[in-house]
Structures are given as C-alpha cells and as structure tokens.
Symmetry: C2
Subunit: 251 residues, 2 copies
C-alpha cells in the first residue's frame, strides 16, 4: 500500500510553527505501510491543485492535513473541487456531524457558518471529528483514496485513529539492521555486491552526530539470509566491528 | 523568487532520523524568498524522477538534499540524468574538487571511487563542498535552476552558505501580525471583509498548544494601512482583545 501525506499551510514553510502532523502520521501508519512521499504546500489554490493532480493515481492513499476552516486562507476543499472537477454541495451527513460538534464544543460562533461547514465534495463520505468542528472527508478519485483531514494536531490525530481501520496492513518486508564502526566509503563495494549477488536492497546512513555510528540496512525479498551471511563474513574478514541491531531478520 | 526544497532519503520518511536540512534551509533562505514547496521523497529512482519533473518550470530555484554518495541507495544524479535526459560524464572541475576534498579529509578509502565521484551531469557546474567529499552541482534546466547538494547537514549547510550569494533577494511584502484573544470563528467575517475590501491577504493560525493565542496576519500589496485600521477598529468595537506583534507594517 503506497501512502502520501500532504500538509497544507504557510505556517510550516514560513517557520511560524513546527509541524506535528508528520510525527503523528508516522506513529499511526507504522504498521500499515510505508509513507512514500511527504509534501508541505502553501495555502495557495493553484499550487495545491497542482500537487493534488501530481499525487493522484500514484498512491493508494493520500492524506491531507489542513485548510478545512472558514477563514480565507482555508482553500483545501475548493482546491479538490477545482482540481478534480467535483462540485461542492451541502451534504446531509456532514451537516449532522457539524451540528453535533457545535453542540459538543459549545461553539455558538459557528452557527452562522453551518451551511458552509456542511458543504462537501460531491461523492465524498464525511468523517467524524471528535475533537473539533469541521468534519473530514473521504473520497476515491480514480485509483487513489483521499482522506481530507483538519490540520489542528489533536483533530488530525483523532480522525487518523478512526480511519486507520480502513487501511489494510502491509506485509512487512524482511530487514536486517546493523551499526557498523567504519566509514561508509569502505563498505561501498560490499553493499554493491550484496545488491548484485543476492537481489536484496541496501541502505546506508552515515552518522551525522558524534556518538552515532554508520547504520546499514539490508532488506527486501531476495536471498536475505545469504546476503546477511555474506555481509557479516566480509566485515569479519576485514576486521570491521559491527553489531546487528534489528530484533531479527524475519518479518 | 519561487523556491522548492526536495529532501531525498528513506531515513526521514521511515522515522529513522529527524530531518535537519529543512531547518537549515529556512534559516538561510529567510531573506531571499519564500520556500514554496517542501517534498520528502524516498531513495527510489522512479519516484524521484517524477518529483523532479513535477518541480521543473514551476520554481525558479530547486534545492535537493541527499543521495550524492556512492552506496547503492544514492540515486540522485542518476535520477536527474534519466529525468532530463542528461548524460553523466567525467567533469574535470568536479575531479579537482573531489581530489582536494579527499586530501583534506584524508579519505584514502575514496581514492578507489574517484572516477565515479568526478562524474557530473552534462552541462552542470560543480559546487565546492568544504565539509565533505562529494561535490554539489548547479544546473539550469529550462526555467529552473537546480542546486544538487549532499544530505549530511553540515555539508548541506556549508554549501548553502556558498550558493546563497547567487540568489537575488526578494522584495519583502508588507505584513502586520496580531495575537488575538478570541476564537477564530468570530473573526471569519472581518477577515473576509479585509480581503474583499482592501485587496490584502489574510492568514489565521489557531492556537494548538495551551497558552498560545490565535495569530492573524494581514499581508500583501493592497491597501494594507486601510485594512489594518479597519481590522483594528472592528476588533475594538467588538471588545475583542488583540496585540500587534509585528515590528511594524512597513517592509
């Protein structure tokens, strides 16, 4: 299952605020599939429309975060509507959710805007928002299911918990992780041999802080057991210290 | 000047590592122009090629971070080469930089790979790397100038300092910022009026932590002075407490 996350809002790109929703998404999606792409985009209608078209059909699931409010910088539903030619119209289920939410949070100020808050993309399914007012939406466009969520982290998290049951769990790929006490440059050859001979993938993360060690990962559906043996033996023969840090190489 | 940043590497998306280069980029680009798009993409050749094609011609400057090493997961130059049909070939200036770097850091292990490290995109200009071995590259493709930088944060930062003089400074737009002690919902109308009547843009950031207040920004090249007066008077009349937190509304 391929997943993309789009976080909408000037505040992150301008450094006015640290993003929290990527962290939240990572936590909840951990066992569901890899997050394959993460995009931060401004509250800019045309930019967001371009991004939505870019991710459509390249991912099974796209989560968006932000821009569901009623201030002029909230442009997410309009962007979906224009990008995919879907009219916005009053949605009875959305109206129900919003009414209930307004009552729950005592948000008398929203009653003036209840008509707007109950507008949804034609063909979408509203999603409950247990922590705020605006409802989320789920809509399948060609091969991609979009989950349109509010950006306030506690609302984003609460809705993510609800929709998570929708996601099928990914088969975990086999993986071995190592810490290696050596410069990356001395491992280039063995990593290339591992990829070439055993049809597994390798990843190499050089330390960027003191105390960190080079991290090497072998993974995938090739001959991982044989790759592991070959990699470890090569390191031992070269007297390069290493430590396996993965719990095990089974799934 | 429109700028995009592409951060390449599985480690961020998998949560193995926190990104640092967005923070670094924000710091250095602050006075040069807004960062308009930020993309985190995996070490996946096809995904990266698609992303490169997506940003081409939509931004004046695109910075990429990561994937310039020699392990099999380093695929950035190959992605550029295939995405834009640019052959990779030995570059004499890159060779010079790399030789000097290897000497400087005493990286005897890299001498085996010096031929590969001196390969560059045809038509690119190599960029010094004062903190590491691999050189960066600058290449203009149609209307977009790409700066291809290594991902190790100290190298990314050091090169960013060098290339920053290339970037023309953006005219700063006029801006007034406020903290307002009220729910966002009660300001929807006045923000819409401000946008409609004075041709300025507004942004609204509800508090996400306790103690935070709603932040409102009015900005742009419309009648900002008049918009400011109108906004402040409306709040005063409604007895809504607010505080201007921008140093001033001039550029």
């Amino acid at each position: 299952m391929r997943i993309a996350l789009i976080i909408i809002g000037d505040e992150i790109l301008d450094g006015l605020r640290e993003d929290e929703n990527f962290r939240v998404a990572k936590k909840y999606l951990k066992n569901k599939g890899s997050l394959d792409l993460l995009i931060f985009v401004r509250d800019n209608l045309n930019e967001l429309k371009r991004v939505l078209n870019f991710v459509k059909n390249s991912f099974d699931i796209v989560l968006t975060s932000g821009g569901l409010g009623l201030t002029p910088d909230d442009i997410t539903l309009r962007a979906f509507s224009e990008a995919f030619n879907l009219p916005l119209a009053k949605n009875e289920k959305k109206l129900e959710i919003v009414k209930k939410n307004i009552e729950r949070v005592n948000a008398i100020q929203y009653t003036n805007f209840i008509d707007e808050l109950s507008e949804g993309l034609s063909g979408s399914t509203p999603i409950e928002n247990p922590k705020g007012v605006a409802a989320g939406e789920k809509i399948k466009i060609e091969n991609t299911t979009f989950y349109i969520l509010p950006g306030v982290p506690k609302e984003f998290e609460a809705i993510l918990k609800i929709i998570l049951t929708d996601f099928t769990s990914n088969k975990r790929i086999n993986k071995v992780e190592y810490e290696v006490d050596e410069k990356e440059a001395r491992l280039i050859k063995v990593l290339r041999e591992v990829e070439y001979n055993f049809n597994v993938k390798t990843a190499s993360y050089p330390p960027i802080h003191e105390k960190e060690k080079l991290k090497i990962i072998l993974y995938g559906n090739g001959w991982l057991k044989e790759a592991k043996d070959y990699f470890e033996n090569t390191l031992k023969n070269a007297k390069i210290p290493f430590k396996e840090i993965s719990p095990s190489h089974t799934s």
